[in-house]
Amino acid sequence: MTLQMVGIEKSYSGFRVLRGVDLSVAPGEVHALLGPNGAGKSTLIKCIAGAINPEAGSIRLDDAPVEDLTPTRAFELGIAVIHQHLSLVDVLSVTDNLFMGHELRRGPLINRRAQRRVARELLDQFGIDVPLDAKVGTLPIGTKQLLEIAKAWHRTDVKVIVLDEPTASLSESETQRLFAEVARMKQRGARIIYTTHRLGEVFRIADRVTVLRDGMVTLQEPVASLVPQRLVAAISGGNEEAAGKRTATAGEVVLDVDQLAGPRFGPVSLQARRGEILGLYGVLGSGRTSLLETLAGRFRPSAGQVTVNGTRVAVTSPARVQRAGVALVPSDRQRQALWATRSASDNLLLPSFGRLAAGALRRPGRERGLFQRTATALDLQPPDARRAGGAFSGGNQQKLVLGRWLARIDELSVLLLDEPTQGVDVGARRKIYDVCRELTERGVAVVFASTDADEVAALADRALVIDAGRVIAELAGDEITEKSLLDHAHQFTGVTA
């Protein structure tokens, strides 16, 4: 009477993402699925949801083998996956959303009375206290998540529910309500798989825990007998090494942020010095993206000051901040950085066209020269100026975005990078790290944010741990290890084994 996954394997273009993963969840069990970015959690969830099919291994639900799973088939079997990005329509009412696509009908018309009755029962059952006619867009995110669960609940006999990072954007009180609901579903015998980056939550609601690392299970045991240190060790792979033993030759302060506050973060004070790489480590929803985007001029700060090279900067627009020598490589490449249908040359040189021009006119020779030099420095593959940006691989797209500012290194004082290696292959990742290092050697301060402790440990000379929009710890040099970052982020530092 369980969900059983045995020996699950999956490769993407030759790279083995899952290498024989076993996972079983009994009725009434909350099973936490943990691991660093790229460990294979999402792939495993996609196997359960039927979005992809594993190459080897078997899935059994209630002792019946489940083969050739599709999302529709999974849903019919009672497997509901609640993603972070919800499938609710903001402009429609609560009732309309609950029944979207599965309306109760009377002839050709919607049976509104019946829908309202069922919706009322459902909301009561889930303890969601909202009017049936409320527009979903006006509700807090936590309530929306509960609605999403209720929506899945009334459509199928839910046997397995997968909650993918449900608390990333929830406040503490919303988290508590979600947990109460999880406890209730648990009592009804649902099998619950739960992923999170907040390790503290594991001890609050999970019965058992599985940790994935590099596609393999590194820890699988009941939470009752688990101490936090073992959990951290399993996630970090016991990796207590700080990467480069770098001779910190950081110079004067280039970026001075004083009591800066903005959307979902602050107040934050930090300094970055010439020639250093500063890492910001924080889990999803910790506010690190808002912080970087605000520094880059995307949002206006609500309080605080930013000083670059000793001059106070009015943070009013990206263009204004760039004139002061601060530029951003944003986290969402497709949405925030890439011109997919435009040439590599346009993608790489856009911020430089004005500077390369003679008077009002562009200078093609200069443009080709700068493209060529930057593409070589980045090892852009293929180094083709006319190829469309969207036709490059993820890693090379990221090189184009990073290269935008490399091409302007003479005017650059601070480079901000948000999740610099997301969706990037191993080779490109190494190149991006190398370029960051080279930038510091040429006097630039590099500030990057990552949800990946591994990456922060590998790249940062100094690291700040961010949680709930604040800096909660600072580590330097050899103190920066995957383990110490996880410990500080989850405040296990005072706990003894």
Binding site: W339, A340, F353, R362, R368, Q372, A385
Partner: protein, 342 residues
């Protein structure tokens, strides 16, 4: 910045496949559909009427397309940026009527009156740009509103048409320079300026960047508010020039009808020329083809005594087929994949 010009790169980029699928024969054929259509149409009309391919008639075609070209060039830049100006027909009316009444009612020199008319067009365009930049309203709503607003103002200024503008205006509208009508020269200058802006200046790159991904352009430091604002003002000025030229051709500026419906002709030419209404894609050569195609189509059918309703049907069909083929050319890989499966 000291840059040494590299000469080795041109060879590398010349042998490389271009942006999109320029080398794909299906895409090339689809993309050239308008050019092929224009050639076929020209051959057809030449065969049908011996009046078609004469110097006089070609002059007629060029003259009829001149004002369209003047307005279509900046409109194309707007559409590539993902916005649009639907008010150009009324701006033409406003500028023409203002110029006309300044000459007729106030005895102003025609040159000065024309400059004032064009300046008023620029201001009207600037108002459009400001409303689009600083409200969250869609450009379609804003300029549909000003389309009516500007027409109302025009009719408030004068109810019956000012006319008989004198010799200077007549020369501007119908005079020849080196055998070519003056408005055609003006259209040529506007076209060249448009091509230089789009291909020869950094702002041209910003136009595409805004159209393809506005957020990325903003984060990269592009002036995503100021640039559309400037192009809206330029479009207004161009419509102002169009208004002056049209009233010069007519020697009259009827407040209720001058430029009415012109915005639709401009949009038809621009979209027919392969500029995507969703922004981010299009060329100046496409605009030239779009304008030429419409001019040849209408002129040829008039010569053949095709009734006006049939001309409208043909223009409508050409737009849908032309835009459809262009859309297909964007998915040529898809077409190939389907072909392979069979």
């Amino acid at each position: 910045m000291t840059t040494t010009t590299s000469t080795t790169t041109s060879a590398a980029s010349a042998s490389a496949p271009a942006v999109g699928a320029k080398r794909d024969p299906i895409a090339v054929a689809l993309r050239s559909a308008l050019l092929i259509g224009l050639v076929v149409l020209t051959i057809f009309f030449t065969a049908q009427s011996n009046l078609f391919l004469t110097a006089g008639n070609l002059k007629n075609i060029a003259l009829s397309g001149a004002v369209l070209m003047v307005v279509a060039v900046p409109q194309a830049l707007l559409v590539i940026m993902g916005v649009v100006d639907l008010s150009v027909g009324s701006v033409i009316g406003l500028a023409g009527v203002v110029t006309g009444l300044l000459i007729v009612d106030h005895g102003m020199a025609w040159q000065l009156a024309a400059l004032i008319g064009i300046a008023i067009g620029a201001v009207a365009g600037l108002v459009n740009g400001l409303l689009v930049a600083f409200t969250r309203l869609s450009p379609i709503i804003v300029t549909l509103g000003t389309l009516q607003l500007y027409r109302g103002i025009t009719q408030f200024l004068r109810s019956n048409p000012p006319a008989n503008f004198g010799k200077g205006m007549q020369l501007l509208g119908r005079g020849l320079y080196l055998g070519v009508p003056v408005p055609v020269w003006i259209a040529l200058v506007v076209f060249i300026i448009g091509a230089i802006v789009l291909y020869g200046t950094p702002s041209g790159r910003y136009v595409y960047a805004i159209g393809v991904n506005k957020e990325a352009a903003f984060l990269s430091g592009v002036a995503t508010r100021a640039l559309p604002l400037i192009v809206y003002a330029a479009t207004g000025a161009a419509a102002g020039i169009g208004g002056v030229l049209l009233s010069a051709q007519l020697d009259s500026a009827p407040p209720g009808t001058l430029g009415v419906g012109f915005e639709l002709n401009v949009l038809t030419a621009v979209l027919l020329g392969g500029i995507a209404f969703s922004g981010g894609r299009g060329t100046m050569f496409g605009v030239l083809l779009g304008v030429a195609f419409l001019g040849v189509l209408n002129n040829g059918m008039t010569l053949m005594n095709v009734p006006y309703y049939a001309q409208e049907m043909a223009t409508g069909a050409a737009l849908i087929i032309g835009a459809g083929l262009d859309e297909l050319s964007q998915h040529s890989q898809l077409i190939r994949a389907i072909g392979r499966r069979r």
